[in-house]
């Protein structure tokens, strides 16, 4: 009997765990360690943040789902990995600390045959002074609770606007190294949509602030699409939407400090600026969750297993990270998501260390890096979870020596639906696909296959996003025929 321990129960971890449980049956053990009692369909948090959905509509209890699937669920956070075992322990193990199930604060050693690190991000609000809803002045939509809080603050603001006050709204990225611009983009246009519905759009100055070099970069170096007889940069379409909705934009910005009512930021030319706000939602940068690693003797080997950001090394070409953008190659990206030192460890989703950025690295004259970091969420993240699950199934059941499935971001596409307002007849969303995620300028003139890369905005996009909300929650709850819903 093999035991597979999965650290994290988000999109990638949940996908890996549920497929492994289905494929391996009760002859093997699948254990999920996650500090959360609830599963959250994060893309719909945007709608919670504008009151378009309740918190209950985007979350569900994990325990009954895992019980049904035969998954051993531990509501705990992972503290350290011991891939060689310990002084008095032969087998490799992880140490965990319970956050629920009546065992709060208790520690435990959990041995494993295979480990999947799917720990997701630490929301690093601490990287920028004054950022975030807990110790700062800005709101967030990164968790369901954050989104509920954001909506409460937005409602207060709307009430003030209805009494005739004019307000400044600032939405975007809260640091020069943020990823997830898509969430900021979506929240900007959902707030715009809500203000129009409430009849107070004329009372608000709406500004978007981003660390992107150009709008539409989204951390993937932007994209080109064929439309109207032209091959056109996504920048043109992004700017068009901001202009149409009367949203001012600030780009190439590193927010370095937030105080009540004012954001301080540096731009790529090295100049310092301020922007006033009455309501601000700024996305934090992501970091690894801070897992430590120790060898058999108890020596700290964290730097051998994780990069300085806390993301786990896998089968990528990390030597390219120090080389210029022009020398980067699609082949630098990992295929098997397998740790090169400890072959029974894998990392999926945000937890794996990318070999380098996707967008071109930029620094201000003051040495401040201002560039989006690589997104590893959503569809690619789920595909990684399923691919690693497929490899482990083949190793455990069929005797495969090496991983059998790949999930290389330079060979996979991504579909993204970015909401621009909710409403069955009044809503809209940008539906996009790109293939591949990592641009390959050797193979494609514009870095991507123009037949697999497209984008359009409209009501249909909203229907797709709303349909996906129900479809992915159905799938995550393992309801009938869940396996036929693609990742």
């Amino acid at each position: 009997m093999a035991r597979i321990v999965i650290l994290g129960g988000g999109v990638s971890g949940h996908t890996a765990a549920t497929f492994l449980a289905k494929w391996l049956g009760r002859d093997h053990e699948v254990v999920v360690v996650t500090p959360n009692a609830k599963w959250n369909w994060i893309p719909s948090n945007i709608w919670v943040g504008v009151g378009g959905m309740s918190k209950q509509e985007v979350i569900f209890d994990l325990a009954p789902v895992y019980k049904k699937a035969g998954i051993d669920y531990r509501q705990a956070k992972a503290i350290s990995i011991h891939p060689e075992g310990g002084v008095d322990v032969e087998k490799q193990f992880v140490t965990i600390e319970y956050t629920g199930q009546g065992k709060e604060g208790n520690s435990e050693k959990l041995s494993y045959d295979y480990l999947i690190n799917a720990t997701g991000p630490k929301l690093n609000f601490g990287a920028t002074e004054g950022l975030g809803p807990d110790a700062g002045y800005t709101v967030s939509v990164c968790t369901a609770d954050h989104a509920v809080h954001a909506n409460e603050k937005l409602d207060e603001l709307i009430a003030q606007m209805k009494s005739g006050e004019e307000k400044k709204i600032l939405i975007g990225t809260g640091h020069g190294m943020c990823t997830c611009q898509g969430a900021a983009f979506e929240y900007t246009f959902n707030v715009d949509h809500k203000l129009r519905e409430e009849g107070v759009r004329d009372k608000a100055t709406l500004t978007y602030i981003s660390n992107e070099y150009e709008l539409g970069d989204f951390g993937v170096g932007g994209m080109h699409i064929k439309l109207g007889g032209y091959v056109t940069s996504g920048k043109v379409f992004a700017e068009s939407l901001y202009a149409e909705r009367n949203v001012k934009w600030i780009k190439r910005a590193h927010v370095n400090r937030v105080e009540k009512g004012k954001v301080h930021y540096e731009t790529l030319d090295g100049s310092q600026h301020e922007e006033e706000y009455d309501f601000s939602m700024l996305i934090p940068p992501f970091a690894g969750v801070g897992l430590k690693a120790y060898d058999k003797a108890g020596e700290d080997i964290t730097s051998k297993v994780f990069n300085p950001g806390g993301f786990m090394f896998v089968d990528a070409d990390y030597s390219k990270g120090t080389k210029p953008f022009e020398e980067w190659d699609a082949a630098d990206w990992p295929s098997y998501l397998q740790n090169p030192t400890y072959k029974n460890m894998y990392a999926v989703g945000i937890a794996f260390a990318p070999p380098h950025l996707i967008s071109k690295p930029m620094k201000s004259p003051n040495g401040t890096p201002i560039n989006p970091t690589p997104p590893r969420t959503g569809m690619p993240s789920a595909m990684m979870g399923k691919a690693v699950a497929g490899s482990l199934r083949d190793m455990i059941l069929n005797g495969a020596i090496e991983p059998t499935h790949t999930a290389n971001m330079s060979e996979m596409g991504a579909a993204c639906v970015a909401s621009a307002g909710k409403g069955f007849f009044s809503g809209s969303a940008v539906a996009m696909t790109m293939y591949p995620v990592i641009p390959n300028y050797k193979k494609y003139e514009y870095g991507r296959d123009l037949n697999g890369t497209f984008g359009e905005i409209g009501l249909a996009g909203h229907w797709v996003k709303h349909f996906l909300h129900f479809a992915f929650l159905w799938k995550a709850k393992l309801k009938p025929f869940w396996t036929i819903i693609p990742e």
Binding site: M383, E411, S426, T433, G452, E456, A460, V464
Partner: protein
């Protein structure tokens, strides 16, 4: 909305009235819904290895 000369908005394409109509026309968007789903399905099939 009037466009202010030399502002950010003055240099970007904006949709015409017909384009805005198409974006919200239920019949047209029904066909686009099908097209988008087909495009995404093809992408998913290409991406699994």
């Amino acid at each position: 909305m009037k466009v202010k000369p030399y502002s950010q908005n003055a240099y970007t394409p904006v949709p015409s009235a017909f384009t805005k109509f198409r974006r919200n026309c239920v019949i047209w968007q029904f066909f686009r819904f099908i097209v988008i789903n087909i495009k995404m399905t093809v992408l998913i099939l290409k991406s699994h290895h």
